[in-house]
C-alpha cells in the first residue's frame, strides 16, 4: 500500500514516543543507581556526580556474586536437561509412528492448561519427603521436564521433509542415528529458541525457588533481590544498582540473538 509522506511521519512519531516510554524507566534505573541516597530523595534527575561505588556496595551488603552464580548454574542445568528430554520426546511424537501416539500427545497438550499452583503444592511435598528442600537437585530436576518444550520442538520437527529420514532409514540407519544426525541438526532454530527461553525463564524463576530455598547460600538472583529489597528497601540507589546488574546479561543476550528468537517466537508462540 502506498505511503503518504505525512503518514510515515506520523508512524515514526508514534514509534519514537512509545520507545521513549519504554526506555524511560530503564534510564531512571541507571541514573538512580549512580546517585548518592539523598539525591534520590530530592528527586534530582541527574546525579551530581557519577557514583559507581553503589555497585561495589551491593556486593558488600549481600552475597550478590553467589546469587549470580546460583542463577546461572541452575538455569544452565535446567536448559541442558530440558533440551535433552524435550527433543527426544518431540522426535517420538513428530517422526515416529506408533499406536497411542496422538492421544498421549493430546494429554500432554491438555496439561499445559493446569495452573502452576495446582502441581506446585504436591511437588513441594514430594521435595519434603525426598529431603530435597534447600538443594540444587530440588531446584533443577522438577523444572527440567517441559510439555511446552516438547510441543515447540515437535512443531519444528514436523516441518522436516519425511523423505530425509525415510531415506536414512532405508539405508539402514537406526532411529537413534536419525534423531542425532537428521532431526537434531535440522531443528537448530527451535533448539536455540527453546534454550534461550528456558534459560531466561529459570534465570528469572521466582515461585519454585521461593518455596524450595531456605538458606542464603542457595538463593538465586530473584530471591536474593527480593530479600535485599525487604531488608534494605530504603536504599533505592543500591537496589537499582542490583537490578541493573541482574537485567544487563539477559538484555545483552536478547540483543545478540534477537533475529533467531523473533523467528522462533513467531513459529512456536512462546510465552515471553
Amino acid at each position: 500500500m502506498k505511503q503518504s509522506k505525512w503518514m510515515s511521519v506520523l508512524v515514526i512519531a508514534c514509534l519514537v514516543v512509545l520507545s521513549i516510554t519504554t526506555l524511560a524507566p530503564f534510564l531512571w534505573m541507571i541514573l538512580t543507581s549512580l546517585k548518592p541516597l539523598q539525591e534520590v530523595e530530592q528527586s534530582s534527575i541527574l546525579p551530581s556526580a557519577a557514583n559507581p561505588g553503589n555497585y561495589s556496595e551491593v556486593f558488600q551488603q549481600v552475597n550478590f556474586s553467589r546469587y549470580y552464580a546460583n542463577s546461572v548454574f541452575i538455569a544452565a542445568w535446567v536448559t541442558l536437561l530440558t533440551l535433552l528430554t524435550s527433543s527426544l520426546a518431540a522426535f517420538s511424537f513428530a517422526r515416529l509412528k506408533w499406536s497411542g501416539r496422538d492421544s498421549l500427545f493430546k494429554l500432554y497438550l491438555a496439561t499445559m492448561m493446569i495452573p502452576g499452583v495446582v502441581t506446585m503444592i504436591p511437588n513441594y511435598t514430594i521435595m519434603v519427603k525426598l529431603h530435597l528442600l534447600d538443594s540444587f537437585t530440588g531446584l533443577i530436576v522438577p523444572a527440567s521436564f517441559s510439555a511446552f518444550g516438547t510441543f515447540l520442538l515437535r512443531q519444528f520437527m514436523l516441518t522436516i521433509p519425511p523423505a530425509l529420514d525415510e531415506a536414512a532409514y532405508i539405508d539402514g540407519a537406526t532411529p537413534w542415528q536419525i534423531f542425532a544426525e537428521v532431526a537434531l541438526p535440522l531443528s537448530r532454530p527451535g533448539l536455540i529458541t527453546l534454550a534461550v527461553f528456558t534459560f531466561m525463564g529459570n534465570y528469572g524463576s521466582f515461585f519454585w525457588p521461593l518455596v524450595i530455598v531456605k538458606s542464603d547460600q542457595l538463593r538465586t538472583l530473584p530471591i536474593g533481590l527480593m530479600y535485599f529489597d525487604s531488608m534494605y528497601g530504603r536504599t533505592t540507589n543500591l537496589l537499582m544498582a542490583a537490578s541493573v546488574m541482574s537485567i544487563v546479561p539477559p538484555a545483552l543476550l536478547f540483543i545478540l540473538l534477537q533475529k533467531h528468537l523473533v523467528k522462533g517466537i513467531q513459529l512456536g508462540a512462546v510465552k515471553g
Partner: protein, 316 residues
C-alpha cells in the same frame, strides 16, 4: 517411520517419567489432598474431611474478594492486546530501523521479573518517585491543581470497589494499587510476544486483498476493519486464550514483591492467596481446594472462549 512401541517409548521415557512424577501424579495427588485437613505443622493428624474445604472457601468472604481482584486484573488485557496490535501495525509500515525499534520494544518483556518490579515500586513512590514528580511538574506548568495518585499505597480503583467488602462506593473511586499493577503489566507486555505474533500475522495478510479494497475507495480504517482485522482473527483468538489462562493464575509475583497483597488485600489474587495458605499457614489441604477451584475457573473460561470465540474467529 514406523517403529515398535518399545523404541518409541524409549525416546519418550525421560520426558514421560518427569511428566508422570511432576505433573500428572501431582494433579491427582492435589485433588486427594483437597479432601483432607492436611497441615504440614501437624504431621500425622491428617484426616479425610470430604468437601469441607470447598464449603469453607465458598463461605469465606476473602475468597470472593480475591476472586474479584483476579478478575479486575484482567481489565488490562484488552488494552495490552490493542497496544500490541497497534505497535505491530506501526512496525509493519516498512520503515527504516524496524529491527532496532522491535528489539527495544521487546526489552521490558524479555527482562521482566523481580528486578523490574523493584524498579516499578520505586517509580510509583508517591513522594520521590518520578511518576508523581512528572505529574506534579505537569500540573504546575498547566496551572491545574492535581491530587496525585498514591499508587501502591491506595485501595482506590477505577470501579470504586470497596476495600474488604463486596460492594462499590464513590469514595473509593480513583487510581490505586490495582491500577498501578495493571499499568505496569501493560508496559511490560505491550512490545512482547503478542506484538511479534501480530507482526508475523500481518505479513501474511494477502496484499492483493488490501490493494483491491483501496482501489474500491476504502479508507485506511475501513480497510483495516474489513480486511486486516478479520484475517488476524486466529492470532487474536490464540492471544486471548493464552492471556486468559495466564491472567487468571497471575498476580503472584507482583503481590509477593511489590505490595504484600495489600493495601487491605486489594492486590491479593487467587494465586497469591493459595501461596499464603500453603506456604505461610501450611494448610496444604485447604490450599489445594482453592487451587482446584482456580483450575476449574481457568478451564471453564477457556472452554467458553473456545466455544463462543472460535465461532467468531471462523465466521469473520
Amino acid at each position: 517411520m514406523k517403529v515398535s512401541r518399545k523404541t518409541a517409548i524409549l525416546f519418550l521415557l525421560p520426558n514421560l517419567l518427569g511428566f508422570l512424577v511432576f505433573t500428572f501424579g501431582p494433579v491427582f495427588f492435589s485433588l486427594g489432598a483437597s479432601l483432607t485437613d492436611w497441615n504440614l505443622q501437624e504431621p500425622g493428624q491428617t484426616s479425610f474431611v470430604g468437601l469441607a474445604n470447598f464449603a469453607e472457601l465458598l463461605l469465606d468472604k476473602k475468597f470472593w474478594l480475591y476472586f474479584v481482584n483476579t478478575v479486575y486484573f484482567l481489565l488490562g488485557m484488552p488494552f495490552a492486546i490493542a497496544g500490541s496490535l497497534f505497535l505491530a501495525v506501526l512496525l509493519n509500515q516498512k520503515i527504516k530501523g524496524m529491527v532496532a525499534y522491535r528489539t527495544l520494544l521487546y526489552l521490558p518483556s524479555f527482562t521482566s521479573g523481580v528486578a523490574l518490579m523493584i524498579l516499578w515500586k520505586a517509580l510509583y513512590n508517591p513522594t520521590f518517585g518520578p511518576i508523581n514528580q512528572f505529574l506534579l511538574a505537569t500540573s504546575r506548568v498547566l496551572h491545574l491543581p492535581m491530587d496525585v495518585p498514591q499508587w501502591l499505597l491506595s485501595t482506590k480503583n477505577i470501579l470504586g470497589l470497596e476495600p474488604e467488602k463486596l460492594g462499590m462506593t464513590g469514595t473509593q473511586f480513583g487510581i490505586g494499587a490495582r491500577d498501578a499493577l495493571i499499568l505496569m503489566g501493560i508496559w511490560m507486555s505491550i512490545g512482547g510476544s503478542n506484538m511479534l505474533l501480530y507482526l508475523a500475522a500481518l505479513t501474511n495478510v494477502p496484499e492483493d486483498l488490501t490493494e483491491a479494497a483501496q482501489l474500491d475507495g476504502a479508507s485506511r480504517w475501513q480497510c483495516f476493519r474489513a480486511v486486516t482485522w478479520p484475517s488476524l482473527a486466529p492470532t487474536t483468538f490464540f492471544i486471548i486464550t493464552m492471556g486468559l489462562i495466564g491472567g487468571l493464575q497471575g498476580g503472584f509475583e507482583q503481590a509477593r514483591v511489590m505490595t504484600g497483597g495489600g493495601p487491605a488485600g486489594s492486590t491479593t489474587t487467587l494465586a497469591y492467596h493459595i501461596y499464603s495458605k500453603a506456604f505461610e499457614e501450611f494448610r496444604i489441604g485447604y490450599a489445594s481446594a482453592v487451587a482446584w477451584i482456580l483450575f476449574a475457573i481457568v478451564f471453564a473460561v477457556t472452554l467458553a472462549h473456545w466455544k463462543f470465540g472460535s465461532r467468531e474467529a471462523t465466521d469473520l
